[in-house]
Every structure is written in C-alpha cells, then in structure tokens.
Amino acid sequence: MKKGEISLAKKRQRDTNRVAAIFLAPVVICLVIYIFYPIIETFRTSLLNWNGISANQEFIGLDNWAKLLQDGKFWTAFFNNIKIMILSIIIQIPLGLAMATFVEFAGKKSTIFKIVWFIPMLMSSVAIGFLFTYALATNGGIISSISQLFGGGNIDLLGNPKTALYTVIGVVAWQFTPFYMVYCVAGYTNVSEEVYEASVIDGANKRQYFFHIALPLLKPTLKSAAVLSMVGSLKYFDLVYVMTGGGPGDSTELMATYMYKLSFAQFNMGYGSAVAGGMFLLISLISLLTMKVLNGKKEDY
C-alpha cells in the first residue's frame, strides 16, 4: 500500500511538472528569442569590427572593449546618466510625495489638482520631446516669451552646453513627477484609515502624523520608487534623443543615445555593441548593489 502511495505522489508530481512545462514554454521561448539570445549576440558582436551590413565581419577580440574603457565620450555619457539619476530622485520623488500628501490631506476638494497634475503622463516621451523643443525654442518659446515680458532677451536653454542637461532634467521631472504622485497616492492607501484616526485621537496634528506615522509607513514605497527612478534614468533615451540628440557637443549625451548613434547613424555596430554591453553591465552592477544595500537594512513595520 505504502509503495502505491509513493508512486501516486510521484505520478502527481510528474503530472504537475508536465503541466508547468506546457504553461511556461511560451514565456521561455519568447524570452530566449527576444532577450537572452540578443544579449549573447550583442556580446559576440562587440568582438567584431563590423558595419552591420557587409558580410565581412572582422574578429578583433577585445579591442572594442579596450577602446570603450578609454572612450571619454562614453564616460561623459555615463556621468550624464548619473547626474540625471541623482537629480531625478532628488526632485521627482519628494515633489511626488508632496503632491500625494496634499491630495491625501485635502481630500475630495483636491481632485481637480490631481487631474491637472496628471496631464503630463498622457503624452508619450516623443511627443513631450517635440513639444518642449518648440516650447523652449529661443524664438517664440515659453521661457523666452516670459523673459521678454519682464524686459529680458531671448533665452536659449537647449542650445547652451551649460544649461542643456539641466533643462533636460527639468523636462524629465515635468514628465515623471505625476507618476511618483500616483505611486505615493497608492502608497497612502496602504496606510490604513484606522492608523490615521488613532493618531488623531491621540492628539497628533497633521505634521506629526506625516513625519512620525505616514512617512515611516511609506518608506517601502519610497524605496521602490527610488529604485524605479534609478533604473529608468540609467536607460533613458527617447526624450533626449528627440530633444537634443545628445548635443550641443556631448553635453546631454547619454549611454543609450551614444550607443544608438554609433550603431544606427555611423553603422559601427561592433563598437555600438560594446557600448550596449558596457551599459548593460554598468546598469546590472548598480542595480545589484542598490538591491543589496536596500535589502541589507530590511526594516519591518
């Protein structure tokens, strides 16, 4: 009898495995074709001197990687990504939290603010890029027109290498702050009504409630918002490609725009692949380190 039970359990497990395999097959096939194979292929291509078109693929070993390490332009691009990352986290998340807190405290009356604040989220990065190219134009842009109202001259924010990157960061903040607002609003719904009521009964005012109760409870939300913003900033592409194309000079060059231009404008696919590979490795490294740091100090509430 015992023997029969074991074989029955075995049979059941085999059945489970079979069904699991059937259900997981599509996802595995899809990821292998469109993600894992391309990653390997990119690393292989990074060992070639190849223009992407000709059949002539010259194997050059690690030459592209050696070049990458010494390529000032790549590291400029990397540090531009880092600047965007830091300023995005510093600007967008606190603003989003402030907006969400306003919505949370003001209640129904603030719905109109929530709707208006959400508007940037309705536009694609490409549309935003084009809109701001024109809205920030030296001639007839919003900022220039405001400056003229006060008797100033035209202002060329995107054409000046000193201001271009910060202007881009401002536009990125315009685009993504509403996302972090929605994110924090969702976080607030996890802070239960009873907690708020209990704190009010205990005599806490809104400021005390925010700093001593809501903020600690929102910590996990804010942490994952920071991770999202970080990964997003490191792979940023659309808006910058449309708005500045990395220029003027290389003042707004990012890893992704540099890789794209190398591969699809200069058709240097070998080196473009090395840049893509470098970008992949740097982002993976930074993500892993961040996860480790954040999870290392796990706090429970």
Binding site: Q13, N17, V19, A20, F23, L24, P26, V27, V28, C30, L31, Y34, I35, P38, I39, E41, T42, T45, G52, M99, F102, V116, W117, I119, P120, M121, L122, S124, S125, V126, A127, F130, L131, Y134, A137, I142, S145, W174, F179, Y183, V185, A186, G187, N205, T221, S224, L228, V231, K235, F237, D238, M259, Y260, M269, G272, A276, M279, F280, I283, S284
Partner: protein, 283 residues
C-alpha cells in the same frame, strides 16, 4: 487654552494657504506646455510669430488639422491600433500562462524561473536592439509593423508576470481544491477557474502595458523605416521634415497624437490612473 487653540487654527490655515498656492503653481507648470500646444495648433504660421505665443488664436481654425489628416495620419493610427491589440493579446495570454504554474504549483525550478523572469525587469532594451534589428531583416519583417510584435511582447513580459503572479497568489486555494475534487485537471482549472478570477488583474495589466506599447519609440523607430509602416508616436517625423519652421502645424500633429490618450482619460480616468500605477507594487 482657548488662545492656544486659536493660534493653532490660524497656523494651520496659513499653512493651507501656502500649500494651496504651491499646488496652484504646480498645476500651472503642469498644464502650460499642454495649453501652449493646443492653443498654437489653431494659429496660422505667421500669427504665432507676430502676436506671440500667449495670444489666443484669432479664430478656431482647423486648417492645420485638415492638412495633417490628409497625410498618412490615419495609416499611423491604424498601424498603432493593430500593433497594440495583437501585442497585447499575445502578451496577456503568455503572461497568464506563465503566472499560473509560478503562482500555484510546487516544482523544483519554480523559484529559479521566476527569479530569472523578474530579473529581466531591469535589463535595458538597448542591448537587444542590434540583434533584433538583424533578426527582423533575416526574417523579412524589417520595415513592417509585424516586426514590432515580438519585441513588444518580450519587453513587457517580466513586469506582467511579476504583477500577475502576485495577483494569482491571492486567489484562495479552496476554490482550486473544490474543482480538483470535481475531477478538473490542472489545465481545465486554469481556463475555468483561475483565468476568470484573474480578470481584474488582467484588465489593469492591459492598461499598463497598453499605454507603454502605444507610446513605444525605440523599436518602432529602428525596425520600421517608410512612413506608411510606422506607428503613431513616429507621425511627427513626416511633418517635421516638411514643416519644421511651421510650429503650429507640428503642434497640431502632436495634439492629434495625444488625443486618444486624452479621450481615454476623460472616459476612464480612474481606471487609467490605477492601470498606469500598476508598476507601483513593491519592486
């Protein structure tokens, strides 16, 4: 006591006034570029230059819009709709399939497969771009909207599986056990029990991924080339070459590309906001 209370009330009222002023300022910042876009789309080329950007258009002139619509605009729109529905259907089916065993079965590789899929979330798509570009050429899909389906499905799988798996985990075990006792096999349980119960999760996911796919840029830009084969976000390029000095014209194109999202926002605001924050589960 009375005085203290009054002082606190005044203090709280002042902070509300300040907060409201800041809120209004943020609202102005959020909406000004948008108004700039819509308002100037009705002007003619010279009107904007002579009267300034903040002047209301002289009349509600739809001629810019007429000109845009006479181009390839409907073709772009149709392409985007096809790509959206096909990718979304495939994506949701594949993700639901994968999430079922990952959320409810015990088998050796479960943890590993799940970890690998979720780890894909932070992969930059750019590393897949060159090989997928080459693949689309060798499969003779290059410069056709069908080249976009595969990548659009694949890049949205990790987050979808992540969200759906946690959704399916919350479906009570008892329902499944009852079905097993009734003689349902694992495959039938998926179609007749789990899938119907996962509907709310799937609809949220449809909005989240739908917006991403609708707005996607880099694959669309790389894998298609001729204008009739492109998607809506790329519509601006056709007009930018022709009318780069004609800002109102470009604004009309942009307004039209945003219009579907605005309509959706008006009719399903809560759903849209909730769907777009679907990534807002702890990452």
């Amino acid at each position: 006591m009375e005085q203290e209370y009054r002082k606190n009330r005044i203090k709280s009222r002042i902070s509300w006034v300040i907060a409201t002023i800041l809120a209004v300022f943020a609202a102005v910042v959020a909406i000004t570029p948008f108004i700039f876009m819509v308002m100037n789309s009705f002007k003619d080329k010279f009107e904007m230059l002579t009267k300034g950007v903040f002047a209301l258009p002289a009349k509600l002139d739809f001629s810019n819009y007429q000109e845009v619509i006479q181009g390839n605009f409907f073709k772009y729109f149709l392409n985007s709709v096809i790509v959206l529905f096909v990718s979304l259907a495939v994506l949701l089916i594949i993700s639901a399939f994968a999430s079922y065993p990952l959320s409810r079965f015990k088998f050796k590789l479960n943890g590993f497969v799940y970890a690998v899929i979720v780890a894909c979330m932070s992969i930059p798509v750019h590393i897949t771009l060159i090989p997928i570009f080459k693949m689309s050429q060798s499969m003779h899909l290059y410069d056709s909207i069908w080249a976009l389906i595969g990548p659009y499905v694949a890049i949205n799988i990790p987050i979808s599986v992540f969200i759906l798996t946690s959704f399916m985990e919350q479906i009570p075990k008892e329902i499944e056990e009852a079905a097993t006792i009734d003689g349902c096999g694992k495959i039938r349980i998926f179609f007749s029990v789990i899938l119907p119960m996962a509907k709310p999760g799937l609809s949220t996911l449809a909005i989240y991924n739908g917006v991403n796919i609708w707005n996607e840029f880099i694959f669309g830009y790389t894998l298609t080339q001729s204008q009739p084969n492109r998607t809506l976000p790329l519509a601006v390029w056709e007009f930018q070459g022709q009318y780069s000095m004609n800002t109102p014209m470009i604004m009309a194109v942009l307004t039209l590309t945003v219009l579907p999202m605005i309509i959706m926002f008006i009719f399903a605001q809560d759903k849209l906001i909730k769907g777009m924050a679907a990534g807002a589960v702890k990452g």
